[in-house]
């Protein structure tokens, strides 16, 4: 198995970081940063760098969630809705119910974990395809968020939670700090623990994983639970940023999260994934969006640009992969 995994790494990846980070992604990111620095006088500044990290934090954490699931050849289409559901549950727990502020964190994570666990159970035990289960959860979680709030954002969170979204110790936005910390922790989990390695093995070859004694079903449930929990964390940050539990929060974020993972070099069909790669993928989109915004390029063109960059990055990867094989 170890040889299979090693073979999927290409000569152009940075092995020192312990995962399949595509050099192409990093190059694309650097080119964007250089180009946009020349194009806009407002782009290259520390405050704008923090601004980009802040803007990327929620979607980036969702990207990490997707990375784990896709690593094991799964898919989670529900992360955007679970984000909204968790944001709402979190806001209600401290606002309408009036629990102390730590419960906002706890309830967001639990709400996310709960949705994720249901996804995992239905996929692993009831043998329903992941696409179907998580598509179902996309509807159920969003609907539940709307029902719980009657469609209205739940405004007003305790000060410590608002700080989590809007605080700036030493000028650094708290969500950006959380984002980077989560990236580091989940990167180590995916690249250096048995939990992460098993996920990659399952994604690479499920039959082989079973043959080597990996409890594939149990592992799947854990992976989807992790994905849900990270979506819950993203929901908490979202709510904290806008100081309210918005039931429409995170609508259609699932596709952006998957895009971040793919841009970062994660193989959509499993077996190869890297959290740092996803971080770079999310930053490519964040930098591109920020730069185009500073240049006042219409949001219509921005969607085209991101779509084109995605295809370009994967195309470069294909060429490189083909060369590595031959």
């Amino acid at each position: 198995m170890a040889t299979t995994l090693a073979a999927t790494r290409t000569p152009l990846t940075i092995r020192g970081l312990g995962g399949a980070i595509r050099l192409e992604s990093l190059i694309v990111l650097v080119i964007l940063i250089v180009g946009l620095s020349i194009a806009s006088p407002y782009f290259l500044s520390l405050s704008n760098a923090f601004n980009i990290l802040l803007a990327t934090s929620v979607i980036g954490i969702l990207g990490f969630a997707s990375t784990f699931v896709i690593a094991a050849a799964g898919i989670d289409l529900s992360v955007g809705s679970v984000l909204g559901f968790s944001a709402v549950v979190s806001a209600i727990s401290v606002n309408a119910i009036g629990l102390p502020w730590p419960f906002a964190i706890l309830s967001a994570l639990l709400a996310g974990a709960f949705c994720g666990a249901i996804n995992g159970l239905l996929i692993a035990r009831a043998r329903i395809p992941a696409f179907i289960v998580t598509l179902g959860m996309l509807g159920v979680a969003r609907g539940a968020a709307l029902v719980l709030t009657n469609g209205q954002p739940v405004y007003g969170l305790p000060a410590p939670i608002v700080w989590l979204g809007q605080g700036r110790p030493l000028g650094v936005p708290v969500p950006a700090i959380v984002f980077i910390l989560v990236a580091l922790v989940t990167h180590v989990v995916l690249s250096s623990t048995t939990f992460g390695k098993y996920a990659l093995v399952i994604g690479d070859n499920e039959a082989a994983a079973r043959a080597t004694g990996i409890r594939v079903d149990r592992h799947r449930i854990l992976l989807y639970t992790l994905s849900g929990t990270l979506a819950g964390l993203a929901g908490l940050l979202f709510a904290a940023r806008v100081n309210s539990g918005d039931p429409t929060a995170g609508t259609s974020y699932e596709l952006t999260a998957i895009t971040a993972a793919i841009l970062g070099g994660t193989n959509l069909f499993g077996g190869r994934a890297s959290v740092i790669g996803t971080l770079i993928g999310a930053l490519i989109m964040g930098v591109l969006q920020n730069g185009l915004n500073l240049l006042a390029v219409s949001s219509f063109y921005q969607q085209m640009a991101i779509g084109a960059v995605l295809v370009l990055a994967v195309w470069l990867d294909q060429i490189n992969r083909g060369r590595a094989r031959s």
Binding site: I38, A39, L146, N150, P153, Y155, V242, N243, N293, Q303
Partner: protein, 325 residues
């Protein structure tokens, strides 16, 4: 192969840089943040703002989210906009809370904030400690009431029958105000017309068409439909015509979009309470310039609305018609 592709990519980005690098920045810059551009209402607003900028001699730096539900993206856009240090911030928030952190940052550096199209909830805004220079928009409750007045006049005050209300996106204040304004006024001016269903059409023509189909099954004698925007009204009116009941059901929308006007002229949509986003855009820029220059303006500015019917459109005498785009 790879190097070639990268060369192309970098050339493109650098080319973009050279093309836009030299921006003239003599006139003061006003930042404008809209909900989305893929909607005729906001498109007209954007044009009005551009015209306002032209009239007042200011440069307009305008951004919009990709969809009118993209609350976080809009907040990110707003933060990015502040990086350019505009002299004023004119923002149409996607909901009552998403832009408050950014508006607070604007307050801290003394950039006046305008609540464009009145999307903020004054109570929440005050609680968040955000100061808004003024709020500008149509009176949405009044717009709903005007639709009810028109219906009573069109069908007769003694008319009776079931009425369908198609609301906006659940939780959206604008939609709620229009729907509530309509219902309250209708009960007053035409008590015989009963609202039998009030359902959210999510501002979507397809959803509104489905709702109309369903209600026509239940209430074949439906007398009238009030939809909280024109997009939904058009979906509803098409369903009515497809059902062979064209002309028998009075359908009224709100907004006065290009398509709405076309439909009225074609004898399909009965009427629309037209908002005048073009005028609103002009007024917003003119008033915020006064604020920047230290003059005082009212804290709430109402832009008039106009009931458009086939008659009003063919006569073409109403002076406000020039703002209908």
């Amino acid at each position: 192969m790879k190097n070639k592709a990268l060369t192309i990519a970098s050339t493109l980005v650098l080319g973009l840089g050279l093309a836009t690098g030299a921006q003239a920045a003599d006139a003061p810059v006003y930042g404008v943040l809209l909900k989305t551009l893929s909607n005729p209402f906001w498109d007209a607003m954007a044009k009005g703002i551009a015209e306002g900028g032209h009239e007042q001699g200011v440069t307009i730096f305008q951004e919009a989210a990709q969809s009118d539900q993209d609350a976080e993206t809009q907040l990110n856009l707003c933060n990015t906009m502040l990086e350019r240090s505009p002299k004023a911030l004119i923002a149409a928030a996607i909901n009552s809370s998403n832009l408050l952190p950014c508006m607070k940052s604007a307050n801290q550096v003394n950039i006046p904030v305008v609540d464009l199209d009145a999307n903020l909830d004054p109570a929440i805004t005050a609680k968040a400690g955000v100061k808004v220079a003024f709020s500008i928009g149509s009176d949405n409750t009044q717009a709903g009431a005007k639709a009810a007045d028109f219906m009573a006049q069109h069908l007769g005050a003694s008319a009776s029958g079931p009425v369908l209300v198609i609301e906006g996106l659940p939780g959206n204040v604008t939609g709620q105000m229009r729907a509530n304004g309509f219902k309250a006024e209708l009960a007053k001016v035409a008590p015989g017309l009963k609202v039998v269903a009030s359902l959210p059409g999510d501002w979507d023509a397809g959803k509104a068409a489905n709702i109309t189909n369903d209600i026509l099954q239940r209430n074949p004698n439906l007398a009238a439909i009030f939809a909280c925007n024109d997009t939904m009204a058009l979906g509803a009116v098409e369903s009515v015509f497809a059902d062979g009941r064209g002309g028998k059901v009075t359908v009224v929308g709100v907004d006065g979009t290009v398509d709405g006007v076309k439909s009225i002229k074609a004898g399909r949509l009965t009427a629309t309470v037209a908002q005048l986003p073009y005028l609103e855009g002009i007024e917003a820029v003119a008033n915020v310039k006064k604020v920047v220059e230290g003059q005082s303006v009212p804290s709430v500015i109402h832009v008039p609305t106009l009931v458009l019917t086939k008659e009003v459109l063919t006569q073409g005498t109403n002076p406000d018609l020039k703002y209908v785009k």
